[in-house]
Amino acid sequence: MAKTSAVKTKKRDINRIAYLFVLPFIIVFLVFSVYPVLRTFYLSFMNYKGYGDPTWAGLDNYVRVVKDKFFWRDLLNTIKIWGVNIILQLGLAFLLTVIFSDIKYKIRGLAVFRAVYYLPNLIAATSVAFLFKTLLDWKYGSFNQILMGLGITQQQVNWLGSTATAPYVISVLGAWMWFGNSFIMLMAGVQGIPKDYFEAAAIDGAGRWKVFAKITLPLLRPIMLYVFVTSLIGGLQLFDLPFLMNGAAPGTAGEPAGSLQTVVMYLYKFGFETHQVGYASAIAYTLFFIILIVSIIQFKTIGKEED
């Protein structure tokens, strides 16, 4: 009896050390992750200039957001840029997944292609923005030189200076940067499907399109959903690329004609330039609620089809 209770005490002691192990994480997590999120929420109900004491504003900031036509314009800009981006990005990633998982053509060199396609992902968005701003410069950029050299256009195209092209340049650049990431995720999903499924289908004489439609596609759905939702969360926070690629100086109000101004750029303007911190916080939470609602709808609709 005495022996077992001794063992028990020792066991309890062993488990107790876990608190010590997780303590640094919890302290830093509470201070630098949880507190800022709650603090932003608190400030969204306040008038606050960034110094002094905040004063109570009630729902004023949220009412102002809802009535602010620039907030909605910028949300629309963000959705437009992200929407075109996600169609290109996921479309290309999906096409590549189909090609590399095709049982007839047996394309080789996945590791090399994957690495090369992932390359643009690694570079800081600041460097990418800068590089392409220079390449796409309408007067001196290499891109227009190539187009005119090949005779595709007779005149220089002002890619970043016109509302007709600038937002889509950001979309295409985003797709160029991130399609490799989506492709790797989708491919990992395909490789996670047990080989027996494909062998069984082959024995039953199923064609490649049938295999794709009946096995690959349904089993990929959860990963498609994951890629889509993470891209939505990231896409609606779009900042670096449009912030750096417009006008002459970074962040000059999303030129041309405000078509590159995203919600987070708008938030940045109030939070860190004009110091209407309470209003910036309300913008952050309004965007969050919108993302939350869209994500829930996504999970409900795509999740349902799975049954």
Partner: protein, 277 residues
């Protein structure tokens, strides 16, 4: 294989290679243009390197000391990566192996915070740094790395898959202390998982732009991405274009080198992110 299939297969390979070239071409153009003069760049387009590297170098470093930004980025990214690696490992290990009150709650909160977009904390984070008198300091760029929910989530999974409890029991019978067991037995076993997460973490820290942008005021303290954006202010674009390309090239090349050696780890970390059980 039938002839038609062979031809189709060839066409697919050509398309795949073209796509690969599209991923690489801008970087190649960047490196080539970094060696050409502004006048050459504006008048023609080529993939043959020029002879103006030295002049561009001088023009660039007259304007900004990029190596300073390089050093600053290292001062931030290296400690942050090490802190994330160590504290995420010990947290993940504790959550995977021990039974303690609040463990399930901790896990739920970690998952929730993985989904919360960063813009939600941006204002509150800056406000906190003001209160702690940490604006224009590297501490708020480094310390928060101790708590990285995504890394804990991944490593917890990794411990559960790779660590055998019998091994821990054996060590305990030998009289090893818990912290000693973690350092001597568990960490080496977790090393591949930690490496995978650390490379991704390092690149994320290295490329981070928005947070250093709002926190750092002193030009000498700026990290590389923030410093790169100041090249924008270089007015005479035609004259300086080669220098600008060179500046961007200097910021990009280290990451390309890291990737050459670690692409396997990087790709496995993305794959791990998508296949959660």
């Amino acid at each position: 294989m039938a002839m038609a299939t062979k031809i189709k297969r060839g066409i697919i390979y050509v398309c795949l290679i073209l796509l690969g070239i599209m991923c690489f071409l801008p970087f190649l153009l960047m490196i080539v243009n970094a060696t050409r003069s502004g006048v050459e760049i504006t008048h023609s387009f080529t993939l043959i390197p020029g002879r103006n590297l030295k002049e561009n170098w001088i023009a660039l470093f007259d304007y900004v000391n990029l190596f300073r930004g390089f050093g600053n980025s290292l001062i931030v990214a290296i400690p942050a990566t090490i802190l994330t690696a160590y504290f995420s490992s010990i947290t993940a290990y504790a959550m995977a192996v021990y039974r303690f009150k609040g463990s399930a709650w901790l896990f739920k909160i970690i998952v929730v915070f993985m989904m919360i977009p960063a813009q939600l904390s941006l204002i509150g984070f800056y406000n906190l740094c003001q209160k702690l008198h940490m604006v224009d300091s590297y501490l708020p760029l480094i310390l928060p790395a101790i708590a990285s929910p995504g890394t804990v989530f991944f490593l917890r999974q990794y411990v559960q898959a790779t660590l055998s409890k019998a091994l821990l029991e054996a060590a305990r019978i030998d009289g090893a202390g818990e912290l000693h067991i973690f350092h001597r037995i568990v960490l080496p076993i977790m090393a591949p998982g930690i490496a995978t997460m650390s490379i991704g973490g390092f690149i994320g820290n290295w490329n981070n732009y928005l947070v250093p942008l709002i926190l750092l005021n002193t030009p000498d303290k700026m990290t590389l991405p923030v410093m790169i954006t100041t090249l924008n202010a270089a007015t005479d674009l035609q004259k300086n274009q080669g220098a600008i390309y060179l500046g961007v090239a200097i910021s990009v090349v280290p990451i390309l080198i890291v990737f050459c050696f670690c692409s396997k780890y990087i790709i496995s970390s993305i794959s791990a992110g998508s296949v959660k059980e």
